[in-house]
């Protein structure tokens, strides 16, 4: 198992791997969950923003390590499931595990520092996340969930736009080179 975890540390040497101060990733993940739960008190508009997903994508892309990305996504997703009332543990876990993995994989291949790249990446991964959620619910829980609709499109655009600003803020948590 330790072999599995160690192998992921190797990423593309051409793309810079960003490091963060100790506890930053854990702290940001918890804060995202807290804010997500907290902001839901203020009405439906706050539900448009998927902070745990954005944190998963950001740290996956920045660390460019698929293993840490998938594990961070799994942890965030499971905790998000834990905070929900009717979701079984693992629903968001699976979706964010996959998102974390693919975000790290994409981050290891291409430069995602540009705002447009970030916008596009979040837009795509948001729909990927929703698709995994919908498929999981349909396959395992026999629930009907939309894979794509107008609301999801708007939600993805809002999240992608917000992510550009949010990622710029998170960039300040990086260790200087």
């Amino acid at each position: 198992m330790s072999l599995l975890f160690s192998t992921g540390m190797h990423s593309d040497s051409k793309v810079e791997v960003h490091k963060f101060y100790g506890g930053t990733i854990v702290g940001a993940a918890i804060l995202a969950l807290v804010l997500q739960a907290f902001l839901h008190k203020f009405g439906q508009w706050s539900e448009l923003i998927e902070l745990p997903l954005l944190v998963t994508i950001y740290f996956g892309v920045s660390r460019r390590n698929p293993v840490s990305g998938l594990l961070l996504g799994a942890a965030i997703g499971i905790l998000q499931d834990g905070l929900s009332h009717d979701n079984p543990i693992g629903l968001y876990g699976i979706a964010k595990t996959l998102v974390g993995y693919f975000a790290s994989s994409v981050g290891a291949k291409i430069d995602t520092e540009h705002p447009i790249a970030r916008f596009g990446l979040v837009f795509v991964l948001f729909h990927f996340h929703q698709a995994v959620l919908a498929i999981t619910q349909r396959a395992l829980l026999s629930r009907s969930a939309p894979i794509f609709n107008l609301h999801l499109l708007i939600e993805s655009l809002v999240n992608a736009g917000f992510a550009v600003l949010f990622f710029a803020v998170l960039d300040r948590l990086r260790k200087p080179r």
């Binding site: 192998t7 499931d81 905070l83 693992g90």
Partner: protein, 334 residues
Amino acid sequence: MEISVRHRPFILLTIVVAAQVLLIAFQVRHSDRGQRDVPLVRYWAAALVTPIERAGTWTFSKIGGIWTGYVALHSTREENLRLRSENDQLKLRNRQLETEAGEAQRLSALWNFRQAHPEAPMMAAQVLGSSPAMISAQIIGASADPNSHTMFINRGDHDRIRRNMGVITPDGVVGKIVEVFPNTAQVLLITDKDSGVGALFADTRTHGVVKGTGDPQPRLDYVVNDEKVQIDEEIITSGEDRIFPKGLPIGTVGEAKPANPFQMIHVKPAARLDRLEDVLILTTMQDVNLKKADDSAPAPNGAPVPTSNVPTSQNPAAPMKSAAKAATGAGPQP
């Protein structure tokens, strides 16, 4: 078997996802049996997040309190000024309404008084009618001379006010009209030293004359020393002065002591002369019902009892002439 470096993250991904799929299947199966799913995970999640949420809620409420309590008060000053102005206006309005309510109460008392004395023709109350026998008036001023106990009322010649008309309140006699102007008139109070009112004791029917002394308490003259006078005994008008009808309260005995040649009797006026606001003016003094007065002081031919004919049983003739003169008052005569 050595795992390819490239495939190791993918294998880990597969394991993690598969584990979660199994976890979901496990929960679905347990939920079908009515059992709770993995509560430990939910407990940990809640234990991890809720303390921070609580702290966040507390912080937000404090920040919100600071905002609403301090920062967002920039418009409060204007609102406060507006409310103060509105409050001042309401206070003024309230005071005005209180004054009107008091006035209505006083007028109601006057009306009740009028209703209570329907038997007196001169008091056939007609405050609102076309030929008023009794007109209400308001005190609008007093004399500038401290020795002169007079008041000004808001009725005058235009209201058919004439000299020597009696002025009363529901409490009792006030005085008489001594000067008439187009829109105002001057009232000589019974406390003025030039004033005199024909009077009698309500119980003993002993006659006398209430004369002003310039003090708050007038004096009842011409009561012989043999007459037993009780403190607080009621004194009413006798009707002999041809100004006031018989039976109106003048006041009560405040103090009585023997003197020469008559008793010194101080009268506490029934009307509150120090706080007069509304008064009634008796306009039909010629119609004073002296027939009733005849019951106690019969006239030889049924004519109105002249003021000189005050009871002879108690009073000698000479003093009674003075009494009559005093009862008509020293003011200008019509």
